[in-house]
């Protein structure tokens, strides 16, 4: 491992990589701090700009945005009670009451330090766990991958939002959209309508940008602009070392909760933040002060949601399975650079992997430095008018989408998918399950058909090994948990 780390250091040691990670984190914090903008949208918009960079620089830039957005989401959660990202929703509970009491600066500092510590712990977990898991995953054949991807498809339930049924519909639509183009076994075209542009299928980036950016642009047209929620300033109180030290236990516990939940596909930052917050409250001598501006509450929720960041990369890098929407986009970014995440990546491109690991470690430092230096600047971002930001985003979308393949057809796909995304928004169908199914769909189909080719059509091959059984059991448990949660939710409603 040390040898690989040395190789990684050599690969990483170029100024552009340092620059990429710092700029990425800065952009991520900026995007995360704008209400309504998500890290997924930020990574999607930045993706076309990375085609011309070398793989390590490109991936680090995107990972920087991912991590920055996670922290950035806490800024608006604390100052204007509007979480910039879903994962920051828990930070509102104590962050906003603190801001109301004139302790906004203290809450933001605690959010920054706890995010950086949790991010560091999560990155360490990634580095220590990824290689052994990848080595084990080398034993996987098509049936094992099919079982794994079936399990991964259950993550749709985790990103389905309020209605599980609509989450499944979105997933089904994603699977259907993924069938457009060339069939991987016989080379037959599917739903191409004699259009050359459709024979290769729909390009991933126009679909992604269309689904995540355009509906937001359209939706804002229906709203009155210029009415901003009241924003508190940072105040004069600063975080003392004693306050940080007294919250350290919650930060470390939250980081490990984040790592554990982040490594499981589909859980995401929000549940980790709430679980960490709950544990901190349970263990506190003053649980009654939680929810009324307790700085430990901010520390616990931020460490929980940032602890997820590095850990979500574990299933992505080792098994090629994205754990959430952003890692699904990162999977696309790897593929654009001819890198296919999964166990073989650790055999063929170990230097690149460890180069990325070294850069990822630096992202925690970048977050700390940028967050500390620019905390006042970022706290003003929420005041930037949407009427100015969204037209800028639109121009980015058009240039970025065209740059994918130099085809105006991709721009048309992006706009059409945007319209589809807006209709989905009207019917409250979430976009995230669509994207995850769109990414996993071809892998699902391909591994199923390859398995059946191997067994000459006998489906028993799908249960051929203990690994298959393990994933089928996990799928069953996951489905049972979904049904139980749904049932409990219905009972609570009534």
């Amino acid at each position: 491992m040390l040898e690989n780390l040395y190789l990684g250091l050599q690969m990483f040691g170029h100024p552009e990589n340092f620059f990429a990670i710092f700029v990425g984190v800065g952009i991520g914090i900026f995007i995360g701090a704008i209400p309504g903008f998500t890290g997924a949208m930020g990574v999607a918009l930045a993706l076309p700009f990375t085609f011309y960079l070398n793989p390590i620089t490109a991936i680090l830039f995107l990972v920087g945005i991912y991590k920055g957005a996670f922290y950035g989401g806490s800024i608006t959660a604390i100052l204007i009670k509007t979480p910039g990202t879903p994962a920051a929703a828990c930070t509102v509970l104590d962050g906003y009451p603190m801001a109301k009491k004139g302790q906004g600066g203290k809450a933001l500092s605690m959010a920054l330090y706890s995010s950086a510590v949790a991010d560091f712990i999560s990155n360490m977990a990634l580095i220590l766990l990824a290689a052994p898991i990848a080595a084990y995953a080398l034993r996987f054949g098509p049936p094992e991958f099919f079982a794994l991807i079936t399990f991964s498809l259950t993550i749709i339930a985790g990103v389905a939002g309020k209605s599980l049924m609509k989450g499944f519909i979105a997933g089904g639509l994603g699977l259907a959209a993924a069938t457009i183009g060339m069939d991987s076994v016989y080379g037959s075209t599917r739903f191409a309508f004699d259009n050359v542009n459709l024979m290769g299928g729909l390009n991933f980036i126009p679909v992604l940008i269309g689904l995540f950016a355009i509906p937001e642009i359209l939706n804002e047209f229906g709203k009155r602009q210029g009415i901003n929620p009241p924003a508190f300033d940072l105040g004069q109180q600063r975080l003392s070392f004693a306050e940080f030290r007294s919250s350290l236990k919650s930060i470390i516990r939250g980081s490990f909760i984040g790592v554990a939940l982040g490594a499981i596909p589909g859980i995401g930052g929000a549940p980790a933040a709430f679980l960490s917050y709950n544990e901190a409250r349970r263990g506190s001598k003053h649980p009654e002060s939680f929810g009324y501006g307790n700085v430990e509450g901010v520390a616990a929720s931020e460490s929980g949601n940032n602890g997820v960041c590095g850990a979500t990369l574990i299933p992505l890098l080792t098994l090629g399975v994205p754990g959430d929407v952003i890692t699904a986009i990162l999977l696309g970014a790897f593929m654009i650079h001819d890198l296919r995440p999964g166990p073989m990546l650790f055999q063929q491109n170990i230097d690149v992997i460890y180069g990325i690991f070294v850069g990822i470690m630096l992202s925690s430092v970048a977050m700390l430095i940028i967050g500390k230096l620019a905390i006042r600047l970022f706290s003003r971002i929420s005041k930037v008018p949407v009427s100015l930001l969204l037209p800028v985003v639109l121009v980015f979308c058009v240039f970025g989408t065209y740059a994918v393949d130099n085809k105006m057809f991709d721009v048309l796909v992006m706009l059409t998918m945007g319209l589809v995304g807006y209709i989905m928004l009207l019917f409250r169908i979430p976009a995230a399950p669509f994207l995850i199914a769109y990414i996993l769909g071809p892998m699902f189909e391909d591994n199923l058909r390859r398995s059946l080719l191997l067994s000459k059509g006998d489906p028993i091959i799908l249960f051929r090994s203990p690994i298959c059984w393990l994933f089928w059991a996990a799928t069953l448990l996951s489905v049972l948990a979904i049904i139980l949660r749904n049932f409990r939710g219905k009972r609570t409603e009534t």
Binding site: I169, D183, L388, P391
Partner: protein, 190 residues
Amino acid sequence: LRSSNRETATGSYKMKTCTENIILGTGLMAFFCYVLFVLIPEEIFVPAGIQFRALSPAFFPKLTSALLIGLGGLLVVRSLVERKVLQAANPATSPGGEADNEEDNSLDYPLPIKAVKIGAAVFLLFSYYWLIGIFGMLATSIFMMPLFAFLYGSRNWKLVLPLSIVLAVSLYYFFGKVASISIPKGSLFG
């Protein structure tokens, strides 16, 4: 009385959601029946002599279409049952009643204005695509960005106009010169 009004309003909202879901479910079923019975046989070439059904290029599209038809049907049935239960529990709620939306839509324009604004935005989006073919990506972007800002209600021309030029030129320079991509110049300038 206030509590009873709130209950009626929430009931109307749920009723509205049920109606929406029935439309959605019916639409899904209709579209994917068309996919399953018309598009798949017409648009997927299945080579002769495939031994196992699961290996056919049409198998997975058929499976997803059937799944979506099933989900659409389930949504319709569930919404119909929910609507019946709601009507039985509170006869004052009707599908056409005033709905108190559970989501925060306080910033939304009234529905007719909203529909016109969004319709105009969709038209402009596709016009953007179409105009690129005539005027090129740079000129169209310089023109479109202020237009969109205007539609959003921004009147700060001193900021919007220079920003649109700087942004479009920067992106043109980055993709055209740094990344060596041929940016569309349009039939007028090409």
